[in-house]
């Protein structure tokens, strides 16, 4: 789960990281009030959970509260990468002298946290990683001991930060690391961390990605989820504990297990089709969950055919069949369904499907081929 910039920065500030004064606003009038309170030049920033808002015109400077209100109104009317902007952050405008990158994330290959810094902040750090990898410094963190002061000092030294800022840089690094640990984040980054004209270090922008599996430990953070930012179908899927990603193709997929789901999509593509989504019903799914999953797929207007591929293990094939049938009864889909259902309790599942006259096949490859054919036929009609 991603946090907005204003949420991320608030989290950092709780751990002693200096951030600009400011507040979030949902309307032009709110933005004017914030700008008046600040009493100086402000920056109005679109709060959306995708990158590229700067290029899209979602970050603008305002000299007066009136101008801040006008800009807020304009930005709140925007869509960025198809996501409507519903909030803006109105911050005091800060003039940076230097822009640094500072982030902490999980290093998968080492199974440890890693603290990353670069003197080249303010830009996409992945671009720096590609073009100037030597400009990125990494410090591996002991998973039990956590970030130590000397490690933050190494980073400061390695990015050649002037020594006058070391003390603040160390404090901010520790604050950022604490925020990462205390929130069970998978990523916490400040980009840019700036040196201001009056010689302070300050986090101008922030990004936090939380570990969905750890949200039960952090009900306060879980509540920060911006459901407005989710595709409605993804929101519904989450409610039922389904893993769903909307894609641009025509073949709806419902599969048990992430690996098999991806493999099913791969085979569809290999056969010349395009998956409309990724949907993993997980292990041991109940009939209700299957019903919910199928409904979500059927609401997608792009879907021309639905492929259901379930290999029962912990998941019971008859339970899956019992979930498919009510969805069909209720939704009366106009598109064909292709079902491949094997594994635990396969016979009973097949019997139920046969009774409902469903199209069933025995292998994934057959299922994919048939779905692709049907989707193409659907396109022609």
């Amino acid at each position: 789960m991603k946090l907005h910039e204003y949420q991320s920065k608030a989290l950092f500030a709780e751990h002693g990281v200096p951030i600009p004064r400011g507040a979030v606003a949902s309307s032009a009038s709110e933005a004017i009030v914030v700008a008046q309170d600040l009493g100086i030049r402000v920056v109005v920033k679109a709060q959306v959970l995708v990158g590229g808002r700067g290029k899209a015109g979602g970050v603008r400077l305002a000299d007066t509260p009136k101008e801040a209100g006008e800009l807020a109104a304009r930005i709140l009317a925007m869509k960025i990468k198809n996501l409507p902007v519903r909030k803006v952050l109105v911050d005091e405008a800060v003039e940076p002298i230097t822009e640094i990158y500072l982030g902490v994330t999980n290093d998968r290959s080492a199974n440890r946290p890693v603290l990353i810094a670069s003197a080249e902040g303010g830009v996409d750090i992945e671009d720096v990683a590609h073009t100037d990898p030597e400009k990125i410094v990494r410090i591996s963190i002991h998973p039990l001991l956590g970030l130590q002061e000397f490690q933050a000092r190494y980073l400061a030294s390695a990015i050649e930060l002037p020594r006058d800022y070391w003390r603040d840089f160390i404090r901010i690094s520790r604050g950022l690391f604490e925020a990462y640990v205390d929130s069970d984040a998978t990523l916490a980054e400040i980009n840019p961390l700036v040196i201001t004209k009056n010689d302070r270090l300050m986090a101008l922008d922030g990004k936090v990605v939380l570990d969905d599996n750890a949200l039960f430990l952090h009900p306060d953070l879980a509540e920060m989820r911006d459901i407005d930012e989710e595709v409605p179908a993804e929101r519904d899927a989450r409610k039922y504990g389904l893993s769903y990603v909307k894609l641009q193709g025509t073949i709806g997929c419902m599969v048990n297990g992430a690996g098999l789901a991806m493999a099913s999509m791969d085979v569809i593509k290999l056969m010349g089709g395009e998956p409309a989504n990724f949907l993993d019903i997980g292990g041991g799914a109940s009939a209700e969950k299957v019903t919910a999953g199928l409904r979500i797929i059927l609401t997608d207007p792009n879907v021309k055919v639905v492929l259901i591929n379930v290999f029962g293990g912990i998941t019971l094939a008859d339970e899956v069949a019992r979930g498919i049938l009510p969805a069909i009864a209720d939704e009366k889909p106009k598109v064909p369904l292709v079902v491949r259902l094997v594994g635990t309790n396969e016979e009973e599942g097949q019997r139920l499907l046969a009774k409902a006259k469903m199209i069933t096949v025995s292998t994934l490859e057959e299922a994919a081929q048939l779905s692709v054919d049907l989707a193409k036929k659907g396109n022609v009609e």
Partner: protein
């Protein structure tokens, strides 16, 4: 021969009285696995599965009483990290954690602790181990595989079943099937298992099933190129997955340019691995060897 488990495996099931633990314990018993104990805190002294398996309050007591030498964990995600630590503390030499959804920072700590002890952890978020005809520890359906000379190691669950099933249909049998799990932090990785298959006399050919995210497959490719004499057939799921989207479990994220299926396939092919284009093709490549 097999790897990890055999007839001497004495299994303790952590979370044996839970819904999934109970169901799969019954399945494992039926398959012939020697389940010697269960653990559910607060239910010590009970007997389950038609009175065949005693339940203990702690792993330590279960091990002391029954000589269990392998543990499988079915407890909910909230308690699973503690369950792994408890098993490691009780010096159970092989721990298989089926549970999905353990917070990743917690798991980094657990993994660090476990690695410092003389203990092997498989998983979490994995289907476990199957040595056809001998023993199964976990949730891989026993009926879809027969004994043979193919070693399987996989990050995926149901996709592995798909492959097992296809092999069986082609008449090919399996030495041991190892599901290492799809989480970003896990106890045992491809390289660990590949090394064991290389040393296992029963295994003559190895199947590696990977997926997008991380760089485990790249490290496996390096190991295969440098150390494996046995042929390896591979498959990588997620060639069509869009970058940056979360695909079901945390392991399956393409992170900033690395972790792409195409990179993994290239690395494996460079190491001499025949990589299948679709899962069904694995069985064909094995059969055509």
């Amino acid at each position: 021969m097999s790897i990890f488990i055999d007839k001497s495996t004495r299994l303790v099931v952590q979370g044996i009285t839970g819904r999934e633990g109970f169901f799969h314990s019954a399945q494992m018993l039926e398959y012939g696995t020697n389940i010697v104990a269960g653990v559910t805190p607060g239910k010590g002294g009970e007997w389950v599965l038609e009175g065949k398996v005693p339940v203990f309050d702690t792993v330590k007591l279960a091990v002391e009483t029954t000589g269990a030498n392998c543990s499988v964990i079915f407890v909910p995600a909230k308690f699973a990290a503690d369950a792994i630590l408890e098993a490691a503390d009780a010096e159970v030499p092989l721990i298989v954690c089926i549970t999905e959804g353990i917070p990743v920072q917690r798991m980094m700590k657990v993994q660090h602790f476990v690695r410092q002890r003389d203990v092997t952890l498989i998983g979490p978020n994995c289907p476990g181990l199957l040595t056809p005809g001998i023993s199964k520890v976990g949730i891989i359906p026993g009926t879809i595989a027969k004994s043979g000379n193919v070693g399987i190691v996989s990050r995926s669950g149901t996709l592995t079943y798909e492959v097992l099933y296809a092999l069986k249909l082609k008449g090919k049998g399996v030495s041991t099937c190892v599901g290492i799990g799809g989480d970003p932090v896990n106890g045992t990785d491809f390289v660990d298992v590949l090394g064991m298959f290389e040393d296992d006399p029963q295994t003559e050919i190895v199947v590696l099933i990977g997926e997008i995210g991380g760089s485990d497959e790249e490290r496996a490719a390096e190991f295969i190129g440098d150390h494996m004499t046995k042929p390896v057939v591979g498959f990588i799921a997620g060639i069509t997955a869009p970058p940056g989207k979360r695909m079901g479990h945390a392991g399956a994220i393409v992170e900033g340019g690395t972790g792409l299926a195409s990179d993994k396939i290239t690395a494996l092919r460079k190491a001499g691995v025949r990589v299948a284009d679709w899962p069904g093709q694995i069985a064909e490549l094995i059969a055509s060897k």
